[in-house]
Point group: C2
Chain length 331, copies 2
Amino acid sequence: MENAASGLFAGIDFGGTKVAAVIADAHGNIVAEGVIPTLAEEGPAQAAERTCRLLDDLCLQHSCEILAIGIGLPGLVDRDAGAIVFLPNLPPQWSGFHIAEAFASHSHRPVSLLNDARMAALGEYTFGNAGGSQDMLFVTVGTGIGGGLVLDGHLRLGAFGAAGEVGHHTILPDGAPCSCGSRGCLETLVSGPALAAAGRDLMRAGRAPRLSELVAGDPAKVTATRMAAAARNGDQAVADAIRVAAEYLGVGIANAVSITAVRTVVIGGGLSVLGDLLLEPVRRVVKERVRMFPSEVVQISCSTLLEKSGALGGVALAVEEYKRAASNTSA
Amino acid sequence: MENAASGLFAGIDFGGTKVAAVIADAHGNIVAEGVIPTLAEEGPAQAAERTCRLLDDLCLQHSCEILAIGIGLPGLVDRDAGAIVFLPNLPPQWSGFHIAEAFASHSHRPVSLLNDARMAALGEYTFGNAGGSQDMLFVTVGTGIGGGLVLDGHLRLGAFGAAGEVGHHTILPDGAPCSCGSRGCLETLVSGPALAAAGRDLMRAGRAPRLSELVAGDPAKVTATRMAAAARNGDQAVADAIRVAAEYLGVGIANAVSITAVRTVVIGGGLSVLGDLLLEPVRRVVKERVRMFPSEVVQISCSTLLEKSGALGGVALAVEEYKRAASNTSA
């Protein structure tokens, strides 16, 4: 087998609307990348085939070959079987599909699967902002909240590979129903859509003049980035809405830190564009609520890989699996 | 060095009022045990000396020798230095004391330290009710709530050895102040004293006739065991108080399970005497709130080691350290 250190690997991040692929070396240096629509209704076999063709095209364009493939999917996967178990936001025909086999039969390369948030955590830990720590909590806040845990240098999987689901632990026992079936989950209190809805409400109530200007009066144009700009330019009510969401995120992160005693927290996803507007309240709440050890040791930052953490996590996963296969072959 | 499989080990569980010691083999079979008062105000050196004498006496009485010692302490310890960092419920002169050295200089045996709840988790995992699982959350509910996590077959320590502190994560963000300095922690909602206080209130309000009989009208005699008996004999208000506490415990356990994806939960400490009155609501709430993987796989039971989980955890710790030392010597 080729040496992993000099080879290239593919990382693929399947989402409900698009599939992002990168080809990178074992240090995370990207040599090629591409995005195609998922077209989820066509089914997983078609999506896998089109993604394989994307990889072929990228390899052809850049005159390169890949050694292994790491794939992330938005839900439960069976890593041993290489199959999808259940993806809450995709059509039912995706469940049970042996996606690893589909990729392997086309590419003849080792293929590994992971939940997308765990894969992004692995990407962030391997190539991102973990700063050499042995432990990391990764929280991605976008349409929903996902997460992953690296503990003592290893990605924690646990039952059904579900470790790190900080978005679906209870913050308010009597809170609003959550899409997961529970109530009062962190995700019911903090998300991109929830924050944008709060921004639109403030606009309609005439309490967000700067935001109104920034979106030229069109509520559909309200985004986290524009809310951050409005807050920085004097919309106090918008700043307050961001702060309240960030404080709830802080409670959720403090809970995960208290339970797992990780020293490093990285926040990714769409809301990480809020930067210090998000980080300052999160850090303050973690300091207030993590009291069983000196919480000054907990480093909290935003992702530097941003929307690439998932696909780069796929590269990290592919490298891991390739090395494992190589050591089994040589043993 | 002697073979760990045939030797004996000491486990010592330091509490605020008493010190429990056991001598057992590597399978957790206890050959001798004893308890002495901590007399915490006399200071740690005296307490260590008296505990060493207890061990000497036990060895003499049972004509045995020990190979290594594992010690649990109720707070933060520095395992590498063998020193106490901070014990919230003991006098300040305990902080900074090199307790491992004190034991080693008397016994000339390897000595290891651990937080008491983590040590109890190790005991429960090694000798108790974990049922061969690779993962376990141990929660001990007594005067306060402690806990420990075994993940992928290893006791999780994390920053300052603080992993597993489920008692001090937030259940009610605007809840009551907690002794730890935060507010709305699980421990503010569920504990032996809080449940007994609820029982006394119901007695005074005339809503707990069976409990009144059982304690002959003396509120000081209200215990969890007696409340369980009263609830089983018709005191509906007492049964409700137990259920509410158990449901909060269920929320806390569900949170830890969602975040870490452990498959096994063991509940110990004084409140575990409530048995099914505790387990039934906990299991129901975990089923309701753990939705990101099929929560039927989560096994929840009460400790079988009961008050011995700590000292037996010390034995497990001593065995681990002895084996590590032996493999370093032979390497």
